[in-house]
């Protein structure tokens, strides 16, 4: 009954491709956007010039924005498909991304667990911080994307709205982007990869596969439910092949490194 070597799917190929697009576009947008936000700093100017100056950087930024709009549309299409095939539990229940009262309860119990006042809560498919990550991206893409589009085509949108909207758009785009970058490169990195249990990284988002022991520990409620309903075997996966592990490490560590360097620069600038 050794659990070692037994794997289950947590993310399908579609999920992984979408998250890959998120990584590429997010890092691209951060690298091409931050030099403009921090144009007065030495590193901002150096990075901007390294990327070919603000105009070239602007074109690259829009290129990554197009990737963002693409994955956002693909994801909306994915949800639309789930609705059309009448997949149950999209908007409520244990598999849903929608925040529910039990998430608040689990947050409360999780904090008690942090303080040594109780056992670890039994998380389902999505822990509350994972739902927050999801909605942070959903919200972030909407807000940053909409304000970015306004600033991309100002004369077009000025036909329908007053000019001060662009002043607001500059603030919203810039601050929300700082929030997104700051959140992903610190909180998401810690929750997903850098906390001691996962350190140095959790490859599940690249391999899609989670080992049984880890599955039972991190998502016990989902595991138990699947086993009780006899659906566990349908989620069985082959162990991730070596190329996939290597690919995970290269992409994962590169992304972590880029993010950590950027957030370090931002923090040093803020503290100066």
């Amino acid at each position: 009954m050794s659990a070692a070597g037994r794997y289950y799917f947590r993310f399908n190929l579609y999920h992984r491709i979408i998250h890959g697009m998120v990584i590429v576009s997010f890092l691209g947008l951060a690298i091409t956007g931050l030099p403009l936000k921090y144009a007065q700093t030495g590193w901002g100017a150096a990075l901007s010039h390294a990327l070919g100056g603000p105009f070239t950087t602007g074109y690259l930024h829009r290129f990554f924005a197009v990737i963002t709009f693409t994955y956002f549309a693909l994801h909306l299409g994915y949800i639309a498909r789930l609705i059309l095939i009448r997949q149950p539990g999209i908007f409520w229940g244990p598999d849903s991304m929608v925040p529910q009262p039990r998430d608040m309860a689990q947050l409360y119990r999780h904090v008690r667990y942090f303080l040594g006042l109780g056992p670890r809560p039994r998380f389902g498919r999505w822990a509350y911080w994972e739902k927050f990550d999801y909605w942070a991206v959903f919200w972030g893409v909407s807000i940053i994307g909409a304000s970015g589009l306004l600033l991309w085509f100002p004369t077009f949108f000025a036909r329908y709205m007053p000019g001060w909207v662009f002043n607001v758009a500059i603030i919203v785009h810039s601050d929300e982007a700082l929030l997104a970058v700051g959140f992903i490169f610190t909180i998401h990195f810690f929750n997903g990869h850098l906390r001691p249990e996962k350190f140095p990284m959790d490859p599940v988002i690249f391999t899609g596969r989670v080992e049984e022991e880890e599955f039972r520990r991190d998502h016990p409620e989902e595991y138990e439910q699947l086993r009780a309903e006899g659906r566990l075997e349908a989620r069985r996966a082959d162990p991730p092949p070596p190329w996939m592990r290597n690919f995970s490490r290269v992409v994962g560590f590169s992304s972590l490194a880029i993010g950590i360097v950027l957030i370090w620069l931002i923090i040093m600038t803020a503290l100066r």
């Binding site: 070692a4 144009a39 901002g44 100017a45 100056g53 500059i170 601050d175 929030l179 959140f183 810690f190």
Partner: protein, 471 residues
């Protein structure tokens, strides 16, 4: 020991007093007196009379025939006999002697004078014509080193008077031997050339080099508290300097076009051509169109009202280093220059895409002057202003061809921290900042609490299943 031939003439007493002077004269080298030639005593027998005058006036020659023997004795010509210069003189002589030919000895000086302006037909036609004696005197002849500016002043009185009030003249009066005199700029007097002569040191294209004899020396600048030590290099690299030195443009400004010539004064002197309040007029002597526009602008009007901080030409264009206005570096420098007074406007400009791109060193985007104008700059309240409500859309359209009135409602100098002026922005900023701080505060605390627990979890797991993470 009394010499002979006394009593030839009337004034025995005066002559006797001066007699010993004659003894040395016999040894003079240049002109050997003929045995029959009169000695100095012979001449002075008459010419020691202070009242001795010419019977009929001769044009261009002094009326008095008095010879100051003491002055002659003190001059470089002390060893010369009278006949050394007055070769045809006899004692006594009835007819007036012909003019002395200095060139008989000083042939080089005579030749040089012929090449220069003082020997030219125009100058010689004047009365008195500049001859050797006009500057050097006659019997009390002076070498060039012993001459002062007064020598030049005999003819050039007005220029010398102006010079005496200049920074050079005043420095000289204080005993400063570094300060330029006539010869420093005009060269040696014999071959002196007019400023229209290309060989002249004061020729339009040669003047910068002439001034640079002193003003390219950083040590001199240091000694005299001249603020810009490398003024010559700056000028030669400037648009004016290149036009003069590379293109040979006679209409391009050289040193004197801005600083004046004989009357150069320091920029701190209110009568100086380069005193800040006078600079628009000085530059406007050539740039008349710009001056007219500037005078109508908010800056020009402020200057006219006596606002000493109002910017003048040199504040943006610099004095000596004036660069082409198409250059990126200069265009970006001007933004900072505007910001040296308009601090808030520059700060808020830097928050926008326009200001960030220029901060990154690129000029192909709206800079201060692109919206506000440069020389014609006017406040938005002025209907003629490029940023007045009636004109703002046209101004935006220079870069944004599809701009509309609503587009122009964008505030390019918005300050989200200013609640009264920009309430919408203020609250947007407040909401965003609150969201940012709130999120990081919550998850920051969450992470700090989780971290030790996660260590414990890993440690516990490591004890029970040691090899797990290397799978």
């Amino acid at each position: 020991m009394f010499p002979a031939r006394v009593g030839l003439s009337t004034l025995l007493l005066f002559g006797a007093a001066l007699l010993p002077a004659g003894a040395a004269g016999a040894q003079a080298k240049p002109a050997e007196p003929k045995p029959s030639a009169p000695s100095a005593q012979d001449c002075l027998g008459c010419h020691a009379d202070k009242d001795l005058e010419r019977s009929a006036p001769a044009p261009g020659r002094p009326t008095s025939l008095f010879v100051d023997a003491a002055a002659l004795k003190a001059s470089p010509h002390s060893r010369l006999e009278c006949v050394g210069c007055h070769a045809t003189a006899t004692a006594p002589h009835d007819s007036p002697l012909p003019p002395v030919r200095c060139a008989a000895c000083h042939d080089k000086a005579r030749a040089a004078l012929g090449e220069g302006m003082h020997g030219g037909t125009k100058a010689q036609a004047r009365t008195p014509a500049p001859g050797c004696t006009s500057c050097h005197g006659t019997h009390a002849v002076r070498p060039a080193a012993a001459m002062s500016i007064d020598t030049c002043a005999t003819c050039h009185a007005q220029q010398v008077q102006v010079y005496q009030g200049s920074v050079h003249g005043r420095s000289r009066q204080r005993g400063d031997l570094d300060a330029a005199t006539c010869r420093s700029c005009h060269g040696a007097a014999h071959a002196v050339l007019g400023k229209s002569d290309p060989r002249s040191p004061t020729y339009h294209l040669s003047l910068p080099r002439t001034c640079a004899q002193c003003h390219a020396d950083p040590e001199l600048a240091k000694r005299h508290n001249i603020p810009i030590a490398n003024v010559y290099q700056l000028y030669m690299d400037s648009i004016h300097g290149r036009a003069v030195s590379k293109s040979g443009l006679l209409v391009a400004a050289n040193c004197s076009d801005c600083h004046g010539t004989h009357g150069i004064k320091p920029h701190t002197d209110p009568t100086s051509r380069v005193f800040p309040a006078n600079i628009p007029g000085t530059c406007g002597a050539c740039h008349a169109g710009v001056l007219a526009a500037y005078a109508q602008s908010v800056h020009g009007r402020a200057l006219a009202k006596g606002v000493s901080t109002a910017p003048v030409c040199t504040d943006c264009h610099t004095a000596h280093q004036i660069r082409r206005v198409e250059g990126t570096l200069w265009q970006l420098d001007v933004i900072r220059e505007c910001g040296s007074c308009h601090v808030e406007s520059l700060r808020t400009y830097r928050d926008t895409f326009h200001g960030k791109v220029t901060a990154l060193g690129f000029a192909r985007i709206a800079k201060c002057a692109d919206c506000h104008g440069a020389h014609t700059i006017l406040p938005a309240s002025d209907p003629a202003s490029s940023v007045a409500p009636a004109n703002i859309v046209a101004t935006c359209r220079q870069c944004h061809p599809a701009a509309t009135a609503r587009f122009a409602e964008f505030h390019p100098h918005a300050d989200p921290e200013n609640k009264t002026k920009f309430p919408t922005l203020y609250y947007s900023y407040l909401v965003m900042t609150t969201l940012l701080i709130g999120t990081f505060a919550f998850f920051g605390l969450h992470t700090i609490l989780w971290l030790p627990r996660s260590f414990v979890e890993r440690f516990r797991r490591g004890r029970t299943r040691g090899e797990e993470d290397r799978s």
